[in-house]
């Protein structure tokens, strides 16, 4: 690992990329260990707190694992609205994802493959709509929903999430379609398929893994959305998770035991799926720019 063995023929040989001294190695590992600890500590602490007994979160002592109990989990699942919030979140996020991916996949394909009048406009539209701050659409949408009687209704929230999901899904799908060689389309066309046929029978089946990733990411976006959900879903039985959890730690009353247990229940499945697909996520998000 040391560079001390410099050959006499090349006296000024610079230090190579993967050579480093023992001290360098220790420093490298020490930095990475510190960074990793910072990265996982809050999550570990969350899990530990959730496993404490009923009022364990009140203790200020730094006991790592004291009388573990599933009390908080039992209470969350039986005494609170958590199960129905969970159901609402799953329905809203699921519908958003299915409709979003379905609508966006054809657009993603068209802007990946064809140059047509209006192409630039569509690209710009997709890009600009992703910058839209929540503040500009939320009031008109709120009034619209109020007028249509869709406040506190699951379809209302799904419609609001379309404004986020559709441009985003189209953008991701375009990135993935770009990575499928055009020769495959050409082969399909030569065999007599129409552009739609090529898309439907050849490209879409090939893009199945990427559809899964796009779907997952838009699911997560809807799953974690706070602003629209807080305003649109105020009824006791229509809350989503992001709104419901705020009840546990209100201004006058808070129970961090309930909160930590439900946080673990929400984060665990999401984290597992996330870790399985994360490699593809970055590729999809940055593909638009790197493959021009």
């Amino acid at each position: 690992m040391s560079t001390a063995t410099a050959e006499p023929a090349r006296p000024r040989r610079a230090r190579g990329r993967d050579d480093r001294s023992v001290g360098g190695s220790i420093l490298l590992h020490a930095t990475l260990i510190v960074a990793s600890v910072i990265s996982i500590f809050p999550i570990v602490w969350l899990v530990l707190t959730s496993l404490k007994p009923r009022d364990g979160w009140l203790s200020t002592e730094l006991k790592i694992f004291d009388q573990p109990s599933l009390d908080n989990y039992v209470r969350v699942l039986t005494e609170t609205g958590f199960p129905s919030w969970l159901l609402n979140s799953v329905i809203v996020a699921g519908l958003t994802t299915v409709i979003g991916v379905f609508l966006a996949s054809t657009t993603g394909y068209a802007i990946s493959r064809f140059r047509f009048p209006g192409y630039r406009g569509v690209m710009w539209m997709l890009l600009v709509t992703q910058m839209f701050p929540v503040a500009i659409l939320i009031v008109p949408l709120y009034n619209l929903m109020a007028g249509l009687g869709l406040l506190n209704q699951i379809p209302g929230l799904v419609i609001a999430y379309m404004t986020v999901a559709v441009p985003f899904c189209a953008w991701m799908m375009k990135g993935y379609f770009d990575s499928i060689p055009r020769e495959i389309d050409q082969a399909g066309m030569i065999d007599g398929l129409t552009p739609f046929g090529t898309f439907w029978r050849v490209i879409l089946p090939l893009a199945r893994p990427s559809i899964a990733v796009t779907a997952f990411y838009s699911f997560m976006t809807a799953w974690g959305e706070v602003a629209y959900a807080s305003v649109f879903m105020t009824g006791e039985d229509t809350r989503t998770l992001a709104v419901g959890l705020q009840q546990f730690v209100g201004q006058h009353w808070s129970d961090w035991g309930l909160l930590t247990a439900s946080a673990v229940l929400i984060a665990l499945p999401a984290a597992v799926v996330f870790l399985l697909v994360q490699r593809h996520l970055v590729a999809g998000l940055t593909a638009g720019a790197t493959k021009s």
Binding site: S39, T60, L62, L103, F114, P140, G224, L259, Q278, A283
Partner: protein
């Protein structure tokens, strides 16, 4: 992303791609009327784009137009038309021109919030990028336990944003939070992290850094791995120092990835609603309120000021669009086609 390329490049690329009949005919003789020709040539592309155009127009375009219109009125909760039971109360708000904008731009609140939003965005994105790049470069070396470190370091990204916000609120809790417990154990007094404007600002930035570094790290690691190793080997043979290799190979090699992730990161951070809303609620006072959360609070607390909030929204959107344009122009000057 061919949005900035001229027509010529676009056509050339299409021809190279070959999948598109339209490009070939673009320079050809015009027999039928141009409109009919275009329709017959591009109808499938337009048909495929149509669903998204329709949805965007209805769900984003219309509310946007209406939002801009509202921002030019004096609509509040009291003047907005509504239906209570069977009684329909008509709207009574009036057109006031640019009054709302003048009010906002001449108020101290706007500039205060803008300054903090800029500090928040710049600090967060700089820390995201700096820490992300540092970690990515460490992980890009030959290293024992590399995939293990990588797994631990991306975990924060796997946690949904609102859950992360709640976790950190608990950690910061002045009575029961573990951070203060550690400080006390070390013999220092506890700090009311979210009660003081300065510490609250530092606290929310820290959380956003925790949440955002993994994405930067993974994206930049992908960029680093796509730089051909031969370049480094050649530089080593030529006797380039590690610093020179970093400046002349790593930095240029990362440029395309960097430009995208910095733009994405800036937009995300600028519009980062859930963290601030859930951790501090904008407080103490309104010290940690960024433009987006302020506009939201304006619209949905107290007497709901719909028109004022819409005007804030328009201003925020304009700021972002201008920023994206300036950014794009700066990149193009450096020879990037974005």
């Amino acid at each position: 992303m061919a949005t900035s390329t001229g027509r010529v490049t676009g056509t050339a690329r299409d021809r190279a791609a070959g999948a598109d009949d339209g490009a070939r005919g673009r320079g050809g003789p015009r027999k039928a009327g141009p409109f009919r020709r275009a329709t017959s040539q591009y109808w499938y592309a337009w048909a495929m784009v149509a669903p998204v155009i329709v949805v965007t127009a209805v769900l984003i375009g219309w509310p946007l137009v209406r939002g801009v219109y509202l921002s030019l009125t004096d609509a509040t909760e009291a003047t907005m038309g509504r239906t209570i039971g069977v009684n329909v109360i008509p709207s009574t708000y009036e057109f006031v021109g640019f009054g709302n904008y003048v009010d906002i731009l001449t108020s101290g609140v706007f500039w205060e919030k803008l300054a903090w939003t800029v500090i928040w965005t710049v600090a967060c994105v700089a820390l995201h990028y700096g820490i992300g790049l540092g970690l990515a470069m460490m992980l890009n070396r030959r290293l024992r336990f590399r995939s293990f470190y990588r797994l631990l370091l991306i975990l924060p990204w796997a946690i949904p944003g609102f859950v992360a916000a709640f976790i950190w609120r608990y950690l910061y809790n002045s009575d029961f939070g573990v951070i203060n417990a550690m400080l006390r154990a070390a013999g220092l007094g506890g700090v009311g992290w979210l009660d003081d404007p300065t510490t609250a600002k530092i606290a929310v930035i820290a959380v956003n850094v925790w949440v955002g570094v993994p994405f930067m790290m993974v994206a930049l690691l992908g960029g680093l791995q796509s730089i051909p190793a031969e370049l480094y080997e050649a530089a080593e043979v030529d006797g380039a120092t590690p610093m020179q290799r970093f400046r002349h190979i790593t930095i240029p090699g990362l440029r395309t990835v960097s430009s995208t992730v910095v733009l994405l990161g800036t937009i995300w951070t600028f519009n980062m609603f859930p963290l601030i809303f859930l951790i501090t609620g904008g407080g103490p006072g309104s010290a940690t309120e960024i433009l987006v959360t302020y506009a939201y609070r304006e619209a949905f607390t107290g007497i709901r000021n719909y028109s004022g909030s819409a005007a804030w929204g328009v201003i925020i959107l304009l700021l972002l669009v201008v920023m994206a344009l300036v950014y794009r122009r700066a990149l193009r000057r450096q020879g990037e086609v974005w």
